[in-house]
């Protein structure tokens, strides 16, 4: 009987059934085999209610949708351009920074490619950057912001890792602190690559202009206080994450609907519904995965996995190398939220067994997922860029190749130099 159920779960995976249903079926199969009443799946799902941090998820996602619907992307690009556009390879830097910030705010790298990439691509090419270089830049930078507060995947990792209670306590804010240097490292390497690539010149430089900067600052006047208030509030401990999320939602709505009038009031209900459909999808998967994880822990799967691995892999370094390969593959085929929900419960206890800090693991995990987004042949952002910019997949493979290598170096450094992630964490 159990064998039949397991077979059905496999069929569901292969047939592309919704992930929540697959995990639910797997959890039910497990509990059924253990002769536990299946109501337990509902009890576990109801545990969503016991997780205060989850309140932040719908609120930040809603804010992200409002920001995407407004002309925030244009103002952000203008402002970053006025600030750093005058530096060598300035516009490329604008692209990296604007994409990273926008992805952090909206939590969705596909949206970044569509919103910011479409603005940047023509601008980059008009300043002398090659088409291939520019296309690669906007495609691969879409996922740059995953490690920056208030990125939703980072919050989700924190929620799951804290639920697991692996004996190494940490605060969600630690994750945000840990992301700072890794993000700066990625940006530096990307800029270094750009400068090396255009070392012979050929790029137009836009002179720095105080007038432009003032104009851009004035245009962004209602949005500028937002990161200051939220970041300042969270890092100083004035706000809990969920309070920061509520304040952000109210602030963003007032700014975009009442002050800028970018988003008509009439459009708000549809934005709420669209964003909550996405949140519902993620939370349902999370809820059923909580049940499944409990089953796995009950039957000591993570422990067995660790024991098994120890037989073959002795050093933490070797483990980290395997982890990188695994996560790269997963990042290319799995939705990021699905990857977090499925893999973190399995990997975290094993990683802690090898002496890796949960905060460091979170950064490694997301940094890998980040490049998984544009790993050939099936990274999701490749499809989005191919669709949006009407380029063939093959063109995108070769455009993103160099960026993949550059960011792979960054990911390896992040993985093997824990200091980068842990220096600001007590």
């Amino acid at each position: 009987m159990t064998l039949l159920f397991i077979l059905l779960v496999v069929v569901m995976v292969l047939a592309g059934a919704p992930l929540f249903a697959v995990i639910m079926a797997a959890a039910m199969t497990g509990f059924h085999a253990a002769e536990i009443d299946l109501s337990v799946v509902a009890i576990e799902l109801y545990r969503i209610v016991d997780t205060p941090l989850l309140v932040a998820l719908p609120l930040f996602t809603f804010s992200g949708y409002v920001l995407s619907a407004a002309r925030t992307s244009q103002r952000l690009v203008d402002l970053v351009q006025a600030l750093v556009g005058g530096m060598p390879a300035g516009l490329a830097l604008v692209g990296f920074v604007a994409c990273a910030l926008f992805t952090a705010l909206t939590g969705a790298s596909g949206v970044t490619i569509v919103a910011i990439g479409a603005l940047l691509l023509p601008a980059l090419m008009s300043q002398g950057y090659g088409e291939k270089f520019s296309l690669g830049l906007v495609t691969s930078s879409g996922s740059l912001g995953l490690l920056i507060f208030p990125s939703v995947p980072l919050i989700l990792y924190g929620v799951i890792a804290q639920q697991m209670d692996v004996g190494v306590p940490f605060a969600i804010v630690d994750l945000f602190k840990a992301g700072i240097l890794p993000v700066l490292l990625m940006l530096s390497l990307l800029i270094a690559y750009t400068l090396w690539k255009y070392r012979g010149g050929g790029l137009q430089r836009q002179p720095f202009s105080m007038v432009e900067l003032k104009r851009a600052l004035w245009a962004a006047r209602y949005e500028l206080p937002l990161p200051l208030v939220v970041l300042g509030g969270v890092f100083s401990g004035l706000f809990a994450i969920s309070e920061a999320a509520a304040v952000t939602a109210v602030y963003v709505t007032i700014a975009e609907v009442l002050l800028y009038r970018d988003v008509p009031l009439k459009a708000l209900p549809q934005l709420i519904i669209d964003s909550m459909v996405m949140v519902g999808g993620i939370l349902l998967i999370l809820g059923v995965a909580l049940g499944f994880t409990n089953y796995l822990i009950d039957v000591q799967i993570p422990q067995q996995l660790f024991d098994f691995m120890q037989g073959y892999v002795e050093s933490p370094l070797m483990f980290l190398l395997l982890l990188n390969v695994l996560l790269l593959v997963l990042g290319a085929i799995l939705d990021i939220f699905a990857a977090i929900v499925i893999m973190v419960p399995l990997l975290l206890p094993v990683a802690v067994g090898y002496g890796i800090n949960p905060v460091h693991l979170g950064i490694i995990f997301l940094a890998n997922m980040q490049i998984g987004y544009f790993t050939p042949p099936i990274g999701m952002n490749l499809f989005i860029a191919s669709y949006r910019f009407r380029k063939s997949m093959v063109e995108l493979y070769s455009a993103c190749g160099p960026y993949f290598l550059v960011l792979l170096v960054a990911v390896l450094l992040i993985t093997y130099v824990p200091w980068l992630s842990m220096v600001f964490v007590q």
Partner: protein
């Protein structure tokens, strides 16, 4: 069906609005008046569950749930439609089971008279689970009969 859609959408908007309102009120009253509704935090957390289930119901309308799509790229449309019907059927079965067992859970809590917060009984907060699962089950059964277009991913 149209009536149901209007309720779902309306509830989502009201719930998110309510959630933002209560959460901000909690923050303001804690920061400035050293107070806050004693049931406010629990209320907001139950809202999250309701929003999640309602959002999932809406996503089920056109089968917009997150999935791992490994193979459909390499098969003709005709084959994919058959596979999609099979996936919907199995999903409906799982949802049907979940609706039944979560109903059992809710009924037990009702009989035990468990209180969630303030004087709101827990079963009301939990009732969204079997209801949402039942509606989603129905929707996936309809998808078996008529598979919706999958969005290009």
């Amino acid at each position: 069906m149209r009536f149901l859609r209007a309720i779902e959408s309306g509830l989502l908007v009201v719930l998110l609005g309510g959630m933002v309102g209560v959460a901000v009120w909690q923050f303001i009253s804690r920061a400035f008046f050293d107070g806050g509704l004693h049931w406010g935090d629990a209320f907001v957390r139950v809202m999250v569950l309701w929003i999640a289930m309602l959002g999932a119901m809406v996503a089920a309308r056109s089968d917009d749930h997150i999935r791992i799509d490994l193979f459909s790229r390499w098969f003709p449309e005709r084959v994919n439609k058959v596979v999609q019907r099979l996936a919907s059927l199995l999903t409906a079965a799982v949802l049907g089971l979940f609706a039944w067992y979560s109903y059992q859970f809710v009924r037990l809590e009702y009989e035990d008279g468990i209180i969630a917060f303030a004087s709101v009984p827990a079963w009301i907060c939990e009732a969204i689970m079997p209801v949402a699962a039942a509606v989603m089950c129905l929707r996936y059964l309809l998808h078996v009969i008529q598979p919706p277009e999958r969005k290009a991913g």
